[in-house]
């Protein structure tokens, strides 16, 4: 599966997941999310951008079914099972006692699939992140960037309908982060996944996504959506283009507004 056809207009893509009127209140008085409405469509690369405490991670946890909304609904289009979701956390979150291949195999293993039955998929996923030669290595033998690649391979090995990424590159150095940004986009082109990406970084969100949802804090809510209509594939040239700078300004203004509103 690939997105060989030019990007369809955002509103023409079929929906994957819809959040409507989602509120999340902790301890009866801390409003983490207020009236969150989001529709994620197939093929979207959506960034959630906002200051600390704006509920980005809470929203992600609700989508992942780790938290239940206080009010409102989360609904998947069509039949939904556990294989629909892949997750990448801020830390690589690998099992240190298992090899790279065993780590990537985990989502299948938890669904009762034998390794021999899905070996090809596991190796294919490792190849896509450029680590097929490291299948028998243990996580501690890998660099931070390589561990994150394993984590990405694990999230996409089952080809889920939606991949959630919670500031996955925040802890990496800038060179590695840029490289992984490029590779993530290349990967998305190849397998055509749908991504929700939480980030603090305006630059990262503009480079990666076609939709940036800017959120404000106290209470956490959506302030505005910024569309980045630059076509994929985006390469290093895009990073230095005037178009990129303009989008960054727009996203940055929205973020400042979000911070200003919160203050």
């Amino acid at each position: 599966m690939s997105l060989a056809a030019p990007l369809s207009p955002l509103d023409a893509r079929p929906p994957v997941l819809t959040l409507s009127g989602v509120d999340k209140v902790f301890n009866g008085d801390v409003v983490a999310l207020r009236d969150l409405n989001l529709q994620i469509n197939q093929g979207d690369f959506m960034s959630l951008l906002g200051p600390s405490g704006c509920g980005k991670s809470t929203a992600l946890r609700i989508i992942a079914d780790l938290l239940h909304p206080t009010r409102g609904t989360v609904s998947w289009a069509g039949a939904h099972d556990t294989g629909d979701l892949g997750v990448v956390f801020q830390e690589p979150t690998l099992m240190p006692w298992a090899t790279v291949a065993q780590n990537v195999y985990l989502p299948y293993r938890l669904r009762g699939k034998a390794y021999s039955a899905v070996k090809d998929e596991v190796l294919e996923a490792l190849k896509l992140v450029g680590l097929d030669k490291f299948q028998n290595a243990y996580p501690r033998e890998l660099s931070g960037g390589m561990k994150m690649r394993v984590s990405i391979a694990r999230a996409m090995v089952t080809r889920p309908r939606l991949i959630l990424m919670d500031e996955p590159f925040a802890a990496l150095d800038e060179i590695t982060r840029f490289k992984l940004n490029n590779d993530l986009l290349a990967l998305k082109e190849k397998i055509g996944c749908t991504v929700i990406f939480v980030t603090h970084s305006v630059f990262e969100s503009v480079f990666l996504s076609d939709r940036i949802v800017v959120m404000a804090a106290r209470p956490g809510r959506v302030l505005r959506e910024v569309q980045v209509d630059a076509p994929y594939p985006r390469t290093e040239e895009f990073r230095t283009s005037a178009e990129y700078a303009a989008h960054c300004r727009a996203a940055s203004d929205a973020l400042h507004e979000a911070i200003g509103v919160a203050a």
């Binding site: 992942a64 079914d65 780790l66 556990t82 979701l85 997750v87 956390f89 830390e91 979150t93 099992m95 240190p96 006692w97 298992a98 985990l106 989502p107 293993r109 938890l110 669904r111 243990y138 996580p139 501690r140």
Partner: protein, 285 residues
Amino acid sequence: MSIADPTLLTDAPDADELARLRARRLEKIGKWSLPVIVMALGIFFWDRIVVWNEIPHYILPGPGRVLDTLIADWGILYEASLLTARTTILALLLAVLGGAGLAILFNQSKMVEMSFYPYAVILQVTPVVSIAPLIFIYVDSKTAGMLLCAWIVAFFPVLSSTTLGLNSVDHNLRDLFRIYKANRWQKLTMLQLPSALPYFLGGLKIAGGLSLIGAVVAELVAGTGGVGAGLAARIQEAGYRLNIARMFAALSLIAAMGVFIFAALSILSHALLHKWHESALTREG
């Protein structure tokens, strides 16, 4: 100084590097040789003190006499060693089963943990020497009584360290398993048990030493004399007869047994962890 000078262009180790290599080599040799030298000196002065002061052997036998006794009494001591070793190893095995089993049970049910954990602590903090006489009143079989004594001392470190390990799962991995809707069994076997392994092995090393202590205490309290007595009972018995050399010989066997258990458990721990765990990692520099 000219750049064309070829000696300046080689990557020969510099002074720092040489000093570091030398220090490391010395450390490697010293790690083994120093304890051996200390032991040799200790034995030498022990011998000299006995000879110079003409201390009678029923007060302090020299090392030569202890060695002679070890050889002469080997038949008795070997049999006693087997008995003590059997109690110790069985107690350790039961401590592993009981300690790890209870830890898993406590981990699966908060109610069970809240109900019984305090009593595990009470059992642990009550000195075994004070419980042992009661045990031998109620338990007919001496073997079973001794096992029970040794088990009471040894199981707690396994229980507490395994409990800690089972609760020390990386919270993101825990979330990941929840997202993938892993069931209880999968979570236990694929996530919690491997996470707990390093903790368990730490507890096991302590339990190894404690089960030997428990076995020795049990023998002393049980007071099994004559045929079928363990090393500790032999020490006690030899003490009554002022056979001090045999006391030392039996003591050295108990110490050797303790060292052996510790070494065996260290090797086991290394074998299980060296591929992935940080504790088995040696860093350069």
